[in-house]
Structure formats: C-alpha cells, structure tokens
C-alpha cells in the first residue's frame, strides 16, 4: 500500500503529521514519532510575543534596584547570556533535523512584521524543511474592518515569502466571512499550503477565583467536521497544499480527512492521549481500511469525497444545525 503523499512540495512517507504540541517539543518524543511513521513533524510554535515578554521580564528584573543602593549595585550575578533569544528553539530545529528521517516543519507565531520575517529566516537557516506561520489573530478591534483584518494575513505572507526559500504554510482560524475567498488571497500572497483550522486556546472562567483563565481542552473527533467541510470545499479550488488539523483521533478520522481532500492530517491530541506509537496504529488501520475499500494509494484516496468530486456537492454547504437537530427524527433533505 502506498501511504506516501505530497505536502508543501515535500514528499512524505505517510499522511499523518504530528502537529505542534508537547511531544514535538522534545527530541526524544520527536524520535518516537519519527519511528512510529509520521510523515512530518511540526515543532511547537516559536512565539515572538513570548520571547519579547521574557526579554522584558529579565530586563526589568535585572534593572530593578540596579545601581540603587550603595551596598548593592545589583542583586543577581552577571551572567554571560540569558538565552532570551530564539536560540533554544533554533537548536531544537537543528537537532530535530539531524535526528529525524522525516521532514521537520518549524512553526512561528509572530507579533510584528519584522519579527515574523527575522524569525522565519532564522528557522530556515536552522534547517527547517518548511515553515508554518501560526497566525493567532483574535480580531477584537471594533475599529478594524474586515478588509483590514484580512490584509494582515496577506501582508504577512507577502512579507515573509520572498525572504525564505523553503515552503510556507499558513495555519488559520475558521472565522472568516468567506473562507474560500480569504484562502485564495492568502495563497495568492505566496502561501504554499493552508492548515485548517487553528484551535485557539479559549478563555475560561475560574469559578473559585472569578478570574478568566486560559483553558486547553484536548480535541475530540467531532471537531474535525468543521475543517473537513472546508477542506472538501477548498480542494481543487486553491493551488495549495491542504492540511487538516483538529480532531484527528482515529483511522476513520484520518481516512475522512484524506477523502475530503487533505494532503495530510495533523494530530496532536490523539498522540498526547495515547503516545507516539498511536501514529503506527492509525497508519496500520488506514492501510487495512484502504485495502478493504480497494484503494491502492493515498494519492488515489485524496479528495475523492471533496465537494468537487462528490455526488452531492451541496452536502458540504448545508446549515449544520438543521442537520443535527433533525437527525433524531428523519433525514432532512433539501
């Protein structure tokens, strides 16, 4: 069975990509994922904001009361380096590249245009096979128009694209008025691939402290329906690789992602829950299912139930709530 696929122009041995998460942040678990047969790994995001925050914190801490008292010019030893830059991340990229047999995709979350470009170049120099721009944008500014918000994506891609030679993918959230139009523009700006969709950390309220706290909940299979719909719709309509992320837990999920038109399915929660070896399970089960269904290769499978290919194209466009509400009674047909 040929499980290979192409993603961002890279030849991958399998369609399962370990998405950014704790297991892709350590060399030992990266190696386990590699051994389990992932097609590629996406390293955790380098957060420019976090780097900035750390630098400012360290600066503030070292400056606090420095040169303030006659008896103490400072309160900490002067270290040769505080490693506030991206070096540790770049080391991980380089080490992963050296250690793994599969391609290594570096992920980047910037906050400034200069930062995106600077770090993208550094990631490329460190050996990343591709770079995924993890655009974490909550459009909360009431003054910013839709066009302005969307322009931030395209401007960003246009700024980074000419600065690097390796493929570039963009991970986006689902909140666009017209996903196909927006994705077209992102691709036109220079993206080689789209990763759908980013599961933003959603805030929660702690009932004890009455404070808003970030809360990460692992995904479930149900969550893959949303990206699957849009992959199916985009398949064949955008000239870019498509990656489905969120909710890929089982081989069934994996098969569905590919059928909808994804070049790869990305998984984080499932491997966190079951360990790196779960990738092997997914691939074996996929092979089994493909054999049963008489598919010969992933390439053959890809997009076969996309909107473009399906016998019922409107199925991907129906209003979800009607479908789900009525499924307990009788199927609703338009």
């Amino acid at each position: 069975m040929d499980l290979s696929t192409r993603y961002l122009g890279l030849a991958l041995r399998s369609p399962v990509v370990a998405s950014c998460g704790p297991l892709t942040g350590r060399l030992d678990t990266l190696a386990e994922l590699d051994d389990a047969g992932v097609g590629a790994v996406v390293l955790p995001s380098l957060f420019e904001e976090q780097l900035t925050h750390e630098q400012l914190e360290i600066d503030a801490m070292l400056s606090q009361s420095a040169e303030g008292f006659g008896e103490a010019m400072s309160f900490f030893p002067d270290l040769s380096d505080y490693n506030t830059g991206p070096d540790r991340y770049l080391d991980l990229v380089a080490d992963a590249k050296e250690r793994l047999s599969c391609p290594v995709i570096a992920s980047l979350n910037g906050t400034t245009e200069g930062g995106w470009v600077r770090y993208a170049k550094l990631l490329e120099e460190a050996g990343a096979d591709a770079i995924e721009l993890n655009v974490y944008l909550v459009a909360a500014d009431a003054e910013a128009t839709t066009e302005e918000v969307e322009a931030r994506y395209t401007d960003l891609v246009a700024a980074v694209r000419p600065e690097i030679a390796v493929p570039l993918s963009v991970k986006v959230g689902a909140q666009f008025t017209s996903i196909p139009a927006s994705m077209q523009r992102i691709v036109a700006a220079g993206a080689d691939g789209l990763v759908l969709f980013n599961r933003f950390y959603q805030p929660d309220i702690d009932l004890e402290t009455l404070e808003v706290t970030p809360n990460l909940v692992l995904s479930t299979s149900e969550e893959m329906r949303l990206p699957m719909r849009w992959i199916a719709i985009l398949y064949g309509r955008v000239q870019a690789s498509l990656a489905l992320t969120s909710g890929v837990h089982t081989s069934e999920d994996l098969a569905k992602a590919l059928l909808a038109g994804a070049d790869v399915a990305m998984t984080t929660s499932a491997v966190l829950k079951h360990g790196a070896a779960h990738v092997g399970v997914l691939l074996r089960e996929l092979e089994h299912w493909m054999a049963e269904e008489e598919y010969e290769s992933v390439t053959q499978l890809k997009g076969s139930v996309s909107q473009e290919a399906t016998a019922d194209p409107a199925a991907f466009e129906r209003a979800n709530y009607i479908e789900t509400l009525s499924s307990y009674t009788t199927p609703f047909r338009t």
Partner: protein, 1202 residues
Amino acid sequence: MAAPTTTTTRATIDGNEAAARVAYALSEVAAIYPITPSSPMGELCDAWMAQGRPNLWGAVPDVVEMQSEAGAAGALHGAVQKGALGVSFTASQGLLLKIPNMYKIAGELTPAVIHVAARTVATHALSIFGDHSDVMACRQTGWALLASSSVQEAQDLALITHAATLESRVPFLHFFDGFRTSHEVNTIDLLSDEDIAAIVDDEAVQAHRSRALTPESPVLRGTAQNPDVFFQAREACNPFYEALPGIVGEVMDRFAERTGRRYSLVDYHGAADAERVVVLMGSGVGAAREAVDALNARGEKVGMLTVRLYRPFPAEALVAALPDTVRGVAVLDRTKEPGAPGEPLYLDVVNVLAQRLGPAMPRVIGGRYGLSSKEFTPRMVGGVFAELDADVPRNPFTVGIRDDVSHLSLDRDDTLEQDSVKVRAVFYGLGSDGTVGANKNSVKIVGQGTDLQAQGFFEYDSRKAGAVTVSHLRFDEEPIDSTYLIEEADLVACHQFGFLERTDVLAKAKHGATFLLNSPFGADEVWDHLPEEIQQTIIERELDVHVIDAVAVARAAGMGGRINTVMQPCFFALADLLPVDDAIRRIKDTIEETYGKRGRTVVERNVAAVDAALEALHRVEVPAEISSDHRRLPPVPDHAPDFVQRVLGRIIAGEGDLLPVSALPVDGTFPTGTSKYEKRSLALDLPIWDEELCIDCGKCAIVCPHAAIRMKIFDPAELEGAPPEFKSKDYKARDLRGHKLTIQVAPDDCTGCNICVDVCPAKSKEVSGHKAINMEPAEEHREAERKAFDFFLDIPEIDREQLKLATVKGSQALEPLFEFSSACSGCGETPYLKLLSQLYGDRIVVANATGCSSIYGGNLPVTPWSTNAEGRGPAWSNSLFEDNAEFGFGMRVALDAQADAAKTLLRSLAGELGDDVVDELLEAPQGTDDEISAQRERVAALKGRLADLDDPRADRLATLADDLVEQSVWIIGGDGWAYDIGFGGLDHVLASGRNVNMLVLDTEVYSNTGGQSSKATPLAASAKFATSGKATPKKDMGMIAMAYGHVYVAQVAIGANDMHTVRAFTEAQAWPGPSLIIAYSTCIAHGIDMGTSMTHQKDAVSSGYWPLFRYHPDDDADTTPLRLDSKAPTIPVRDFALSEARFAMLQRTDPETSDRLLAMAQANIDERWRLYEQMAEVKRKMPAELAEELAEDDDAATGQEA
C-alpha cells in the same frame, strides 16, 4: 627614563574592578566574603571564574566564599601555606576579623595580598563609607601597607603589591578609599597581561612554592614557643622588613620603566622651596594636589607628601622627599584614635622627623579629616595650610566639619579656586530609574570613545525604597583627580519632577548653568508648576532650562517608567561634549553592549527611546518674575519634636553636612518613633478600602511591609467628628459586637507594592477583580486619604485585653511599633517585625544583626521602631554582624541579673514596704497583657513608696524597679548572620538554655550586600558567589536547633500561613528557654514580582520547599514535640523554582546543570519530608537538667500566653 614598552589601552572602570583585574590575574586562590564597599572585587572574581577566565598562568583561580572574613583569612592562610598565590578582599569589620590570621601569615613570612576598600569601623554607629580606621587597625600585624589614591593607582599599586609580596615574603595589604576610589568610575590606562607578567618575578613565585607544606619534604610551621626563644625568633624577621622598602622601590622602578607611570614610597608634589607641607595618603591626595597648585599659583610656597608605603614606614624616603625649606607640616589622618596623643600617621611623621632632624625639625601638627567619606575638598586643604601659618596652630585639628564643642575644626579657605574641570554635571535620580547606570555609560562613552577624560562618582542614600541617587560627572582633556563632589555644576539634571518639592536640586547649579528637567509638563506650562525657590534660582542664576517628558517617551517606546535612555541623549545634546550624532551612535552601541544579552527587543526599545528623545526635548522661555503659588515642602512637619526638627529634619533635607558637633548625640543614642515624620509619598497607586466587601480578616494589614495598612477596632462614639473621607464598618466578631472597624492606608508612607490587594480574599460578586482593597491612582486619592488617616490616628487604640492576640485579626488590631521603614517596596522581612512589634513591642529589647534589617531599622535619619501612647516600645540596638546572638544573650543575662538584684533589694525592704506588697511584686504572674499591666501598676506604686523612703537600698531599687516587669529579648537578623557568620554564637546561645527569642529573616542570600550566596541559599539557585548554581543544599537550621531538645523551633512563612506565624510568635515568646523562628522572607534578590510575593509563598510551602513546622519541647516523655504544620508536597519543586528568576536564570544559561540540580533539589525535598514525617512521630522528652531550669523560669512567669 626609558620609554614605556607597553601599548596602553584605556578603560573606564571603577577602583574595585581596577584592583580585582590584577588580583585575579595573579592569584590561584581567592578567599572571599561580602562586605561593602569591597564586595564587587569578590563578585567580579567569582563571575570571571564562572566564565572560565584564566589567570596569568592559564589556570582558572578558585574563588571560594567562606562563612565570614575570619574564615576567609583562615582559608587564605592555608592556601598560601600550601604554596598557592592567595588573595582576599575586604573592608572595615571584615578586615578586623582577619587580624588574627594576618599576624600568623606575616609571622611566617608568607606572601599574600588583601585588597581593602577602606571603610569606617563601626563605633557609635555603623557606616558603610570610607576612612582609614580599618587599615590603621592592622598596622601592627606585620603586613606591609600600601595606599592607592586613585582608580589608576588602585590598578597599578595592586600589581606592585602582588609583585612585592612575592619578592619580599612580607604579606601586603593594599588599600584605597571605600566609595571615593572603589566606586569612582574613571578613565585609566589598563595593564595588559604582558605588563603584569613583566613586573612579577617568576623566581619569586617558584621560591614561594618551594616553601609550601608538602609531605615530600615535610616541615613543622606554627609551633608553640616558650619564653626562652619566642622573643629572639620574633626578632629574626627584621631583615625582611628592613629590605622591604627597597624591594617596593625596585618594583616601582620596574613598573615605571614598563608603563611610564612612576610611583615612589613617598611622593612629593609642590614648590621646590615650599615652606608649608601637608602629608596624607589615600584619595584625599587628589583634592590636596589641587589646593597645592592653586596656592602656589597665587604665590604661596606649599607642597604635599603622598605616603604610599605606610608599613614598614619609609622614614628615609619621607625625610628625603621633604624640602629643606619646610617650616610647617600638617599631617592629615583619615581616622580617629580617641585618647591617643595624635593619629597614627601624625605620630609616625613626628617620630621620624624628630629622630632624623632633631631640633631642626619643622613644626608638625596633625588633624583628622574625611571620616566616613566626609567631603574633603581643596578649600579644606586651603584651611589647613592657613592654619600652618597661625602663630599657635590648633593641634590636633579637624577639617570638614564644624566643631562647636571641642573647637578643633578649621574653616575652609573659600577664596581658593577649586575644581577647574571643563564640564561638570550633576544628576538627581531615583535608584530604580536607571540614572546611575546611564551615567556610568555616559562616562564610558566619553572616556573610551573620545580623547576626553571622564570621571563619575555616585552618591547613594540608605533607603531601599525610593532611594535618591546623585551622580557627579566630570569631563576634561586632562586626567581628572578631583576626588570630591561637584559643588558648582555646568549642568544639573533632575530626573524626577517630584524631587523639586523636597530637595534643593539647583543648589549646585552655577550661574548660567543648564538645567535639564524631566517634567510631565511641557515647556510652555512647566513654569507654573515649579516651587518658588526653584523659580527664584533659575531667574537669579540665569539658568538655561530644558524639559522633556521622559516618562511619556519611555512609555511610548515600551520602556515603562525607565527613563535612563531618554535622559542620556538629552544630556549629550546639552553638554556639547561631542557631536550629538556621534553621541547618539555611541549611546546605541552601549545599549547593544549593555542590553544585548537580555534580548533584541530590549535593545530595540532602548534604541527607540533614544531616537525619540531629542524631539521631545524643549527649551523653556524663562519669565522675568517669580510667579509660583507654592514653596518647597518642609522636610518634617511643624508638629515634629524639637530634635526631629533641628537635627533629623536637616538630615532629611540633605543638610546633614551643615550640622555642628553639638547637634549630635555623644554616644549614638537616638529617639525612636521618628519614621512618621518623614513623608515620602512614593506610591503611584494607593490601596483603597471598600468597606462594603471587607470581611475583617486583617490579612491586608499583617502582610503590609511598611505598616501602611492599618486596622483599628473602636467604639462607634469615636466616629464623632469624622471627616466625610473616613470610612468604617460594623465589626463582625461576636466578642466585640457593636464595635466599628476601619482599614486605613497611610497615604504618604505606602510604597504602592500591591501586596495587601494581592492577599485580600474578599471579592466583589458584581465586578470581577474588585476586592475589599484595590490599587487606585494616588493622585486621585491622596488628599482624601490624608484626612482620613489623620482622623484614624486620633482614634484611641483598643484595649489589648479585649482582643484575641494569637489570631491574625486580633494581632492586626494592635498598634504597630515598627512602621514606615525604608525597606524595599514589598519587603518580605518587615511584616514579621511589624507583627512582633504589635504583639510584644512594649516589652522587648531587640538585638539586631547588621544587614538589611539594621539598615532599614537603624540608618539615619529616621527609624521605624516606634513607641505607643505611653512612650513604651522596642528598645533596639545593633552591635555587629557576627556577634548578634551573643549581643542579645548579654542583654538577657543583664536583664536577669538586674531582675535578681531588684528582687533581692525588694525582699530586703519587706519590712518597710510590707510583705504583701513584696510578695505580689515577686510572685505575680506576667504572662498575659493583663498581668503585665497589673505588674506595671505595682511597680509604679512601688516607685512612689520608694521615693518616700530614706534608705540607700530604696534609691538603688528605684533604678532597678522596672526590671521587675518581664521584658523579653528578641535577637533578629538575616540568614547571613544566622547560617554563616554568626552561627557559632547562635549555636552557643541556643545551647545556653537562656530565655531569648531568635528570629531569622531568611531571604536565602546576603540581601543587603546584593544577593551573595549564604548557607541558606537553596540548591539550584543562582546567586552571586554561586553564579553557576548553588550545588549544595540549604542548611537545615531547624533540625540543628531541634537536636538540642530544649529549643522551641518554628519554621514559618507569613504569606503561606499567617495564622501559623502568629501562633509561632506567641509560643516562642511564651517559651521560657531559647526559641528560634526561621521566617521565609521574600526578597527582590529572588527575582519575583514582589507585588504577589506573599501569595507566592504558598507555592514554596506546597512544593515542600519550605515546610512549616513547630517544635515545642516538653518534659513529658509521651509527647511528640515536632508538629508538621504543612501538608506533604503537592507540586514539584521545579514548578515553584522556575517561577523565580534566581532559579530560572540558571535554567536559561545552563539548562543541563539546572535540571541536574533541580532533580537533586526534588530528591532532597522528598527525603527531608520523609525524615520530618518520621520525626513528627518521635516521642521525646527534653534533657532533664534543662527541663528543671526551664521549669524554674516558667514558675517565675506562670501564665505565659499559650
């Protein structure tokens, strides 16, 4: 002289670094211990070792921190005996602790060097500043003493010292003046490694090694000798001392050949036919040289002798250097030896001149100057020269002060021109605003980037929160030797607008000077906001005024309140030292150098701030008339007591130098309760109480480091006349039903640290984040809160007997007798002291070890230790760093002796006073507040009766009667004292069984001197002297104390469990034997947000990092004395540790080491917890004989609070 063979490299560094560079290059072992102002020498060596920097021979020296300077001297002694090249650094009391070993090292003729940043030895008061009282205490040890008088010399003579000790075999003490030289930044020519190698004689190094102790050729050294030979043997070393001046002279010659810089044992400067000469050593030389030049320029014939080699005293060189024409000599000593016929240098000079010149000797007078870094200026030297012209000059004399008691002081010669340096600038900044750091950079920019010479000197005040710094910068084409503060500045910069209201920042502005002001008001509106005095000076002196809203520029650049890189370009733009573009470029280079390793963003934001600065700088059109509607605030309020007005107020106003001798106490005794008169209004945000939400818990008050959150419970009748701003609520406790409660901020004493808000558990149900106390802008609330606080203060304190004292809210309703300290904002130590003062302040005597708590507790001008309405309060004293347990022990012994004497007298007067009266006084219990009050009333009555008795016993008893009321001794200090330097004494006092309470404010580093590692420093933390991470665990002091069996021991963390802390304090006070409380004290040296430091302590406890426990000895064999008061660890120590910079920094720089050490830390915590759990099951009875003794004490004080 041969041309110099070295290529000079200029550097702009301070004296400590100048000396340490050479010391490091020439040493194999450095035994160190922190003490101001020498600490940076050890710190630099430790940092260089951590970087793997090699010494001259390619090896990395071993820099070892010891438990005290005495320990460092012992280690130095051992190292040099074993043939290593050994060095140490110290000052003041630290040097005194080395003296015993110094005798030994010298007696054994062993090369060694101690570099000393000379500092005042504590007498009537401690002083961290500079004079020669410490080095003069070593002149008898047999060490050679060599004095440097400038930063350049601190480097050069350091090398001469190291070379000379090897060649002469006599150990050397090289000293330079603390702060004036140790901390002055100046442009110097650096010595290269080749220079250093060229001066040091390798053969002498080999010879030193050949004398090392080794089993290959064993010897016995350090014998005990008897009367038959000791004397002769002591004289056997004489030839070495005779040869020494010659050897030093030869090394100085070699040095001059190599570098072109010539030094002599004694240098003469001045007129060849001088008639009057001053003799001195140290940094005063710079001021004296200017005076000599100025006097000679106006036709006088004067000169000066600079003594460099002080021991062995270079008699021949001194006489040779003195012109024959001299008829009067004034010898200036920077020390005082009460009762001596003169100070040491004076006596030496008199002796030498008398011996060598006989009747032909000139008249010699001696005087004191510069004690504790007192200013010493050319005009003062002018006054000394003038005195030499008098018919009967004063001898001894003093200069630099006004002595209206002994009338020894000389006037300065104000006609003398001084300080002709081309550009002089003075900057007023806050410790936290980066002013000093930026100025140091400016000095470097000019000193290293241009042909100009640059000098920077920085004045610091002793406050830790809101410290004011004054920077003095000089620039010139010529080398700058002006070793005194700038008196007339070409440019004055005030980096904090608020200073204008309290300080005369223009006092030093010369006519036509430039005034640079950081102002929230623009150029067109600032004038109306200036106090009248400032306007007047600006107009009278025709100042050129420029303003910049540096805070706005800094904020826009993302720099928060850090204005240093905004003000720096403004200075260069106005000072015209180098083209502005060039200056800006160099500032940016310096930013890269200084902040580069902190990260790109830090650099970029600083650069952005620099770029935006000049556009925001505007010139002010100065009106012709004064138009201000306000004057500068008085330093203390009008209602302050006379002494506070007359003396402390002047010190607060920065006019302490003007106080005459008569204004000051003769014995260092000051009134307490004075911090309330110094209102500093530091907080930008104030905690504002919302009485609707308050649940009366008292947590906000118990954690307040500055006693600025006050709680009172009172009768509603007291509300009569309350201003509308005053808030109160019904107090909910059943036992005080009908009472009111108020939580009140002291708006001018709060530092805005946020801790009270952070710990407040009462939250609004309607508005998320709103609590019963909330930080709000001070500007909006200060006036209202002032009125409310004034009213609050007038409400009578509640009767202590109505409160449950051993509770958080009960204790917090008590008046604090420790208030408004100058500790760091958010200090973790002071809440414990405040609590102690609330519980027992009216009956305690405090022995306070030197350290943070002695500085914020006892550094002039004011003290936080206070008194209650009856005038009672803690009596406080500081002896030393190392002896605090013994000091407090002595107080206990005295208290007991006096009480015994009083009891004996009382019994003897039973016939006169009546048995009932005597029995009551002797036997009444004194455990509770009620009982103490009753005993005080009895004593008052007794005194009345005694006054009527005509009996000498009655007179004696009258002076001792107060000792019939129980007093307790609290021995307080930091971990540096308790774990390291004072541990021997602490251990001894614990063992004694006497009734003392020891409170260790454990910040886990030497906080006061800047965060050096102590034995309390935890495994895996990075600290100075443990830059690569502390590799050994913290000493378990509690366990050591428990081993005795009769010591009450508690380990507490007030932020983790306040109730537990209160309980431990009450139990310690009640325990009739020794008690030890180890109190976790968060500190800025931990690298945490001090605003959340108290809640952060919960993690320290829940990770098992800081377990809470109490060990209560008992004479019942079935009791388990150890009680674990915290639960088994629930979070990994790593989670706690990496939230603190002291651990996280190591994780960043060296993750592998950090991981290894943190894994060890976790293992240690697990094992310690396992041990404690077992210990908590152990039944133990305290040692029988001690039980008996303590039971006797207990009987005498039955009814102690439980």
